[in-house]
Amino acid sequence: MKKLISLVLALCVLLGAASLAMAQEEPVTLTILHYMGNEVKLNAFNAIVEGYRALHPNVTFDSQALSQNEYITQLRTRVGAGDAPDIMIGQPAQYTDIIQAGYVMDLTGNPLVDKLNLTAADIGDCSWEGKVYALPLDFKTYGVIYNKAIFEKYGLSEPGTQDELDALCKTLADNGVDPWIRNYSNVTYPDIEVRAILWPLLMENGKLDAFEKLMSGEAKFTDYPEFAKALELWGRRMAYGRMDDMSNDTTMARQAMAAGQAAMIYDGTWAFAQIQGFNPDQRYGMFAVPRDDGKPNQYCVQLDQIFMVNGQSAHVDQAMDFMAYLLSPDVAGQWSAATNGPSVVPGVTVDMPEVIHVAMQAKENNNIAHAGNFTAQLSGEYLNNWRAVLQGFAADRTLTVEALTAEMQAAFDEINASK
């Protein structure tokens, strides 16, 4: 009898081992949906995927790049069609319906998250309603990238206050140099430019639930003087404009910047590799958008490449295994070196261009306004309307701050009325 049992047990173990071995051999296709659209990022990501495939030949990747503007719609359309990808890029708070539908894995307490040793704000940025839903690879900041040669030519230095910035712009304009190149036809840019002042102000005044309350209708825009201030200063910056401010697309603006057609562009760390790629001889610096109250200027920080894993996928384990590979110091370092994306993975040491270094330094010194500190960020229709209204402010310079705030409030009220 004992013999029989041990035989059965042995058989079980054997079968188990065999099926395990077979499971590992089994071909797996991981689908990744993302918006790492530009060549630099795309190539870097593909190289990492190839590296992983060298270790796991049974895994193939279906890595699909979408344009950022279309991403949410396309992701929803696919998830709705029962065709959810295994790994999705994105900040969880923007995809709450997909989380609620159960497609995003809860990563709270996952060893992979713990190993990243993230700051509380970083954790906040990859969470929704207190649970961690995403794994970050790097972060981003936005600020004023300037052409050093032009600044030197006119003896200009990085401005510390709005008044200094005004004076700087005037000097440039008087000399026939366009101070700014812009790409407001992309609705993201008016938004991130307003944040530059808005976020630090809201945070230092302790209004971390401002966006949450605005979306729920509990608070009005007029309850927060920070909005008026941010818009006012943005308006002052826009006093110096070009004809193509509203019609350049992102690439055209960066190309013009690289060609030296203007002295400054408001853009993010993610843009730098591309700007530099257009004209490697040009030298750039970066500074945070200056305030008018003498307090220290801060950079806004958000996690950048941030991945959610589909908890309902048949290949969850494989997907998590890939994420572990992606977030190992070597591979994360490879990503940062190729894309200039400042890593959040501990142990990554890569030489960065000055512009990125400035951003990393700011985060290390905590001289930042981190998105993750807010209880919620604008999302979905609120975000779309927020961006569109701001774009309208850029397009129509006769609008007053009050009129704009009223329009914004009307837009939010209407969304809430349709719910």
């Binding site: 929803r76 359309t77 774009q391 837009a411």
Partner: protein, 295 residues
Amino acid sequence: MQARRASLPRFSYARRRGFTYACFVTPALALYLLTVVVPFLQGIPYSLTSWNLVSSQSAFVGLKNYQSLLGSAVFWKSIGNTFQFAVYYILFSNLLGLGIALLICRSSRLNNLSRTLIFMPYVVSMLTAAFVWKYLFNTVYSPLFGVPSPLGVQSQAMLGIAAISVWRTSGYCMLIYIAALQGVPQEYYEAASVEGANARQKFFRITVPMIVPAFSVNVSLLLAWGLKVFDVVMATTNGGPGRNTTLTMSMFIYNNIFGNSKAGYGQAAAVLMTLILLALSYVVSKFFRSKGVDA
């Protein structure tokens, strides 16, 4: 016996013909019913639910979607924008189409060639046309005239979008006008000349009444196209610059169903859009019928 033999083939021929007819119609009809008629009917109950695209949860909400649509400033704005576009589109395509048709309606080598070339934009996809024009407005038009691209100016954006569409359809209108102009008997003009009519009188007394059928075709066709405008806006302004400046009905529907995950609400808007389309088509065809045109 003989009578039976004679009637049998005739009977079976008619039956066979009926059967063949049914076989001929079935593939097209079945496909059409499945892809157009059935979805159309399904859409009506869907518009009475709070369907969420992603989780497929839906609850019956009665007419609530319609109620909130009728009270929605954005929906009305999208209707207004669409009408604005349609007016520009119909007006300028017809003016240009008729103008060019008058210029080149006579057949000659040059005229035939320019006819071929002017129609060419119609062949290009709306999406491609929109992308090309977006660049052209920014890099050619703007520096050339020293003004910003109309697509970036709120008060001009719809006009800019219409310009792109007009560029694409004027050639179509032109062809229909040319056909109509060539159909006007030359004797009418000769007779008018004998009676001492001048060019303007000839145009308004002879040409215009004779080409009313062409007006009718062009107006009803462009109305149907114009009210559905979608691709060109998606590819140029995506509803901007600013909030809903160029948002159209079609975009409102697409954005709500897929972008905002409010499928029931978007479907209700789609049903309303269909009603608007039907009503306007009816009014236009009635108007032209009152002018004695059957189109």
